[in-house]
Symmetry: D2
C-alpha cells in the first residue's frame, strides 16, 4: 500500500553484508530470504539450541529474528552509510512455536528520516501450513555510521 | 516493597531444573544467578555468537535472557505443577551493550493467579561498573502443566 | 482472513449498551460506527477539549478510543455475560493528528477463551483523505461478569 | 539515583504554561503536582466523565495523564525552545482503578538529546492508601519548537 523510496541502489548487498556480521544469526543458523524495499524476511530452522523448557522455540529466539528482519526492513530505505538501531519493541506471542522452521517478516509501517516504525510477524511452518506465532511493533532509529566497519 | 507468598517449597530446585532444559540458555552460555521469591537473575558472558553487526550484544540475546529471568521470577511464586508462558513483552534499549558480561534481572511487579506482570532490567558490567542497557515490561500467564516433562 | 466464531447472537446490542455506559466516550463526543465480528470502529470529532499543547489530538484521547475499539472487537466474539478488560497495550504515534475527526479501528488478531490479542489503528480524516496516525497492539482478558450491571 | 542536568532555568514555568494549553487536561479536571528535574506528577479526581462501562477510571483516562506526566518529565531536562512528542508507549493495567483520585508519576529513566525513555506509574488513592493501578514505559522525542506558540 505504501510506496517506498529507495536511496541506496545497493541496499540488497548492504544488507547481505551486514547480516553476515551478525554473530547471533550465524549461531542460530538463520538465513536471509526476502530483501525488498520495506520488507525483509529471515528463516530459522528448528534445532535443540533454540528451545525453551518445553521444547518449543524460545520467545527470545523468535524475537531475535523478527528484530533483525524489522531492522533490515528499515535499512532498505536508508541512504548509504546509515546504520539502524532498535530503540524498542513489543512482541505478542500468540501460539507456542513448534515447527520445522519459522519465518520472520519485518515490514516498514511508517518510514522516517530519524524514526522508522516497523511491524513484524513470525509464522511457524509445519506440513506446508503457516500459523502466526508472534507479532511485533518496533521503533528503529537511524544515524550516520560512526565509522566504516571492516 | 511487595511481600511475596511462596507456595512451592522447592521453587529453587524447580527453576534450576527448568533452566537446564532451555536449549537457548545453554547455547548462549547463560547461567542462573539469583533465585529468590519474585526475583531471578541470569548472567550472560560476551561471545562472538551473541553479536549484532557492530559487535555489540544483539538486542535479541539481551531480550532472551531478560525474558527467561522474568518468566522464572513469576514461577518462583507459583504452586508446584504450574508452567509460566510469556504472553507479551516490551523492551527499551537504552545503551548498546558492549561489555564482558550482562546481567538480566526479572522481578515480579504484580503477582496474580492467572496473570503476572514483571519488570526486567539488563545491566552491562564493564570494569566493575554497571550500566543499564535495557528495560522490559512483561506479561506472563500461568497454567497447569499439561503433562510431566521428562 | 481469520474466520470468527460468534457466540452471542445479540453482540451488536450488547456493545451498544456497554458503549453508552462509558462516561469517557460521552465526554469525548465519540460514536460507535462499525460493529462486526472481530471488528469495531469508533469515530471521534475534533474539539478543543481533546487537545495537547500544540492543538493536535492528545495521544491519550487517541489511545482512549482505540482501546475501546479493541476491547469491543474482542467482546464481539464472547459469549453473553462476559466482560473484557484491558491487560495492556502499546501504541505508536506515527503522525500528529490534526483533522476534523479521527476513526479508531479495533480488530481481533488472535481470539482466545481467556486472552484475546487485538490490533488497532487510528486514521485522521482530513479533506476526505485518510492518514494513519497511530497503531496499537493490545492484550485483552475475558471473564464472567461479576454481577449484572444496571 | 540518576543525576539530572537541567538546562532551562525556567522549566517549572515552561511546564505550567504548556499544561494550561492541554485542552484534555482541562476537560478531565487534572492538575499538575510535582514538577522537579526528571519527575512530574499529575492528579486526577474521579468523575463520571472518566469512566469505562463498569464505573472505573477508563484505561484511556489513566493513560492520558501518565503520558502527559512522562512527556513533561522529559521536558524538565530540555533546553528552552524544545518540544517533546510521544513516539510510543506501553501500559500495563494491574488493578482496575476505583478511587477518589489517581496520581500519575512520570520519571525519566534515560535522558537523551533526541530520545528520552520514561517510566510512569499511576496509583489510586482511597482512604489514604495508595495502590498501583498502571505502569508505563514510554519513548519521547525532542525537537526544536517549529514556532512560538501564543
Amino acid at each position: 500500500m505504501t510506496e517506498f523510496h529507495v536511496s541506496n541502489a545497493d541496499f540488497v548487498q548492504t544488507i547481505h553484508k551486514s547480516f553476515l556480521r551478525q554473530g547471533l544469526m550465524r549461531l542460530f543458523g538463520a538465513a536471509l530470504d526476502v530483501v525488498q524495499p520495506g520488507h525483509v524476511s529471515i528463516i530459522l530452522p528448528f534445532n535443540e539450541g533454540l528451545t525453551q523448557q518445553h521444547g518449543f522455540f524460545h520467545a527470545g529466539a523468535i524475537t531475535s529474528i523478527v528484530d533483525s528482519a524489522c531492522g533490515y526492513a528499515a535499512l532498505t530505505l536508508m541512504p548509504p552509510g546509515t546504520e539502524v538501531l532498535t530503540i524498542e519493541y513489543k512482541v505478542n506471542f500468540v501460539t507456542p512455536a513448534s515447527a520445522a522452521y519459522v519465518v520472520a517478516h519485518g515490514r516498514v509501517l511508517k518510514p522516517g528520516r530519524t524514526i522508522t516504525v516497523c511491524q513484524g510477524e513470525v509464522v511457524a511452518v509445519k506440513d506446508g501450513m503457516e500459523k502466526l506465532c508472534a507479532t511485533m511493533l518496533a521503533t528503529m532509529i537511524s544515524r550516520q555510521e560512526a565509522h566504516v566497519d571492516g
